[in-house]
Subunit: 126 residues, 2 copies
Amino acid sequence: MGIIRKTKTVEILLNEFNKNEVAISAKKLIDSLGNTINKTTIYRVLDKLEDDGVLHSFLGKDGLKWYAKCNGCSSSKHTDMHPHFQCLSCGKVDCISTNVVLPNIPNRQIEFSQLLIQGKCEVCCA
Amino acid sequence: MGIIRKTKTVEILLNEFNKNEVAISAKKLIDSLGNTINKTTIYRVLDKLEDDGVLHSFLGKDGLKWYAKCNGCSSSKHTDMHPHFQCLSCGKVDCISTNVVLPNIPNRQIEFSQLLIQGKCEVCCA
DNA sequence: TTTGTTACTGCAACTAAGTTGCGTTATATT
DNA sequence: AATATAACGCAACTTAGTTGCAGTAACAAA
């Protein structure tokens, strides 16, 4: 079940995702908002926003959970299937809006895929 | 630094990877061998075998660490860059020996990539 | 505006994967 | 056999994420 009441916590968290384009890890949200909002609440609101199709989640290079705003997803169907890029220098994660060409795998039924590309971002490249 | 002495633990672990074709998670090795070998030792030997280019590691769908035998890797260079397939029904993970076509990302320097495809394996499809 | 239902929150305690420090054991070299 | 040290076991720790429960607040209805 998703978000039903527009609480202060929901507003604060949505605001975090609106002011930056990049993805944000649950850990970072707890680090920056943890003395305002309880970490349990942060995890729960993120989970519900994902259920609603407002955010999508994926795992970063260390297995940490990251969230980013969805494009064209609804609560019934997450259509987002794009790759993510994580910078090995500064740790920043971006959504890459390019379609992934999946390899042909015989006799298997593909349901999801996650592609994490790692390297140096445009800032850390220079 | 990699493996220097051929101990009983190294032999047992390598044997696990030789009898099956599939990847094995660190957790599963601890579950099955944990009363014979200490879990710290399992983690350390896996780590060293990866340093040596004997195994490669990647993260499964829950962020758990998985290991599988390498093909054509050395201690100096891990050339393996293939996708992995994890079955959502039985949990099995396989290496897919197909090259991945990475999307073109301007102004970024790509160093690694990991593609995890999820769905139903050939056994669970039927 | 007040009341009442219940979604939401905070707290504390917990779970589980993986790590660290250190004293002991065992491999391999001389 | 002696010895240097890689490898091991144990216990305690770290940390991301979860659970149960009691208290709080959002919101609809009166």
